[in-house]
Subunit: 403 residues, 2 copies
């Protein structure tokens, strides 16, 4: 029997009416004799409410306890959706991440899925049931409840689709797929009908919220096609899948990530202090990105190290910064209020033309570029947080609409 | 090292301030080098809110899904309490019922604890941590999340105290122990400093809300003393423990249970239909009480059967009644809007004096007694729901204040 995995995000399950609608949509698929596993997020503002409860107690609560707290959100959604399905005569059963066999490492708040043992999902499916799974959560090999970080329900869905050998993985949200830029910022953003895995990975890494980067990586490894769709407005969709190399060339999309902070260290012991800083952040489970280290052997005074942190996603960041300062000493600089604008597309690094023209474009508009990183599929530029929307608009007009 | 188990009820953990106070109280105990396991209920109105969400979907949702939904309430409390403890420098870890080894049968919504495997609680205690456990929940041998029914957090606490061989089990709520009647109904109700296990069991069975009957049964079997105390007003307490027989004689307390419904069957096949009704209710996991069957062999027309259901605690009762009617046929009578007033005390059945005088007392006030049950420790009378408070007051004045 054909098997598909569907995932419904927080805005798709925000209230009673929406959950009822989702139940009917799932029922239609099930009646076509298709096995369905459904991954759900927490309803609307549930996660925000839980976070604000935690903040009442502590600026930096223990991460294990945050996971215990936050994982309840998806459990509420999944049991209510099951009830809605029973009401329309579809047999359904809810499973927690742990029950569904989502095994992770013990990196609380940002755990990685290391294995999926979907035996119970398969058992319940074999009994003819729709299986509703709480997204965003798993269980560590230490038998603690973990969460997978921002957008983690996508990862649950794709990882399950891979483990179940599903035909496809459908990701439902309030947008009908992936655009060349956020339509809220760029009015004439283009809808993309197909995106390759590496491009989608780069887009997610660079701040696009449609899909989680780890989810895309899973999909790529297992060659699972992801269909990004709107829950309630059938029509357009974006398919993320393997594309022949060279199918699409040039800048496909412009994405942004807000609330970026850069940390800089200098002086003859910059490398040692960089190691201290990063190992402290590792102990706090804060991921670092875009590391640059320059070590000048014969003149240590010119040695420097820098890296970037997505400050907007780190709970208790201000306190973490203070503690890092104590650990590494005073010669540390924080460049706050930054954001990144990223151009995404294959072949961007074949020559430097795109990079040079982009720097000039931003310069013409007095936007200070304070950092640059490039990969095969991406050019990212650090700009002031308060100029980010304008930067996206300028780059989109220059590279996407002009192509 | 001495080990104690504490349990804090919903009103003791209702908000941020109260959780902070509880954290400090636990901290004081821990600093005396006492191992503490803390069982918590859901915060204030959480369970009611979750129930009302479920009602939005279904008058009678699947019980398994109700358990999945309701068990999130205690998980929120326990993770927040851990955070509050960390803030005051006490190392604490939260465990779900499942992680704490509370193994139950699969009777969802009203599961029985069949085994406690507290290895993980002991491990964490050995590391010097306060262990915070979600009450009211367990895991079935089928690996499904179960809940223990009304007041189930008491059962969690006592069962854990037994498994941990704890010195005592302290049950904290907003009242400072057990009274001879509900002080909200009887202004001069007496505080009881000691209650025996069987009396307390009868009181709980007959509707007293201070302690859950299954919890008392566990405590009796394992000889665990229960200290019922007020969370925020230290002072008086009630100790529930083994008392020498004959220590206390006469009516100790008058308790009530509201929203009782009696089901009556008559006719020559009353016994068969009674079996059908009860086995249907068993499949719906509705407990029945006070069964009376009269089978007249040579004149079946006079055969009758009746039993009583605590309708106030059964989710989806109206629909269950309709389905029972369909199964058993039309010759079934429901006596609704009843309540029971119960006299509790040792030796009540040594003669019939107490029973006869009580019937007369209620009769004098035109309160219709529509049923009577007696055990060694209890006399229960079915009265109209709208006369229950007056019945409690009359019985308390006659038997408790007069003794």
């Amino acid at each position: 029997m054909t098997c598909i995995v569907q995932k419904y995000g927080g805005s798709s399950v925000a209230d009673v009416d929406k959950l009822r609608k989702i139940a009917r949509l799932i029922g239609e698929v099930k009646r076509q004799m298709i096995d369905v596993a459904v991954v759900v997020s927490a309803m609307g503002k549930t996660t925000d409410n839980l976070l604000s409860m935690a903040r009442d107690f502590s600026p930096k609560p223990p991460r294990r306890e945050m996971d215990m707290l936050l994982s309840t959100g998806e459990r509420i959604t999944m049991s209510l959706l099951c009830m809605a399905m029973h009401e329309i005569g579809i047999d359904a059963v809810s499973l927690t991440g742990s029950q569904a066999g989502i095994i992770t490492n013990d990196r609380h708040n940002d755990a990685q899925v290391i294995e999926v043992r979907p035996f119970r999902v398969q058992d319940e499916m074999a009994k003819g049931k729709v299986v509703i799974i709480g997204g965003f959560q798993g269980v560590s090999y230490k038998r603690d409840i973990t969460t997978l970080g921002r957008g983690g329900s996508d990862t649950t869905a794709v990882a399950l689709a891979a483990a179940l050998d599903a035909e496809r993985c459908e990701i439902y949200s309030d947008v009908d797929g992936v655009y060349s830029a956020d339509p809220a910022v760029v009015a004439d953003a283009r809808h993309l009908s197909e995106v390759s895995y590496p491009e989608m990975q780069e887009m997610s890494t660079a701040g696009a919220k449609v899909l989680n980067a780890q989810a895309v990586q899973f999909a790529k490894e297992k060659n699972i096609a992801i269909y990004a769709r709107s829950s309630f407005q059938p029509g357009r969709e974006t398919i993320i899948r393997r594309l022949s190399p060279g199918t699409i060339i040039g800048v496909q999309a412009v994405v942004r990530e807000e609330r970026i902070e850069r940390i800089r260290l200098s002086g003859s012991d910059a490398l040692e202090r960089f190691q201290q800083a990063v190992s402290y952040l590792e102990s706090e489970q804060v991921p670092v990105k875009e590391v640059h280290v320059t070590q000048i052997a014969d003149n240590g005074d010119h040695s420097k190290a820098s890296f970037v942190v997505s400050a907007g996603h780190i709970y208790g960041w201000e306190q973490t910064k203070d503690e890092m300062k104590e650990k590494v000493g005073p010669d540390i600089t924080f460049d706050s209020d930054l954001a990144t604008v990223s151009l995404i597309g294959e072949g961007l690094n074949r020559n430097n033309q795109t990079l040079l023209e982009t720097i000039n474009l931003l310069k013409e508009h007095d936007i200070i570029v304070s950092g640059i990183t490039t990969t095969s599929f991406r050019i990212s530029l650090l700009v002031p947080q308060n100029r980010i929307d304008q930067s996206v608009q300028l780059c989109h007009a220059r590279w996407v609409m002009n192509s």
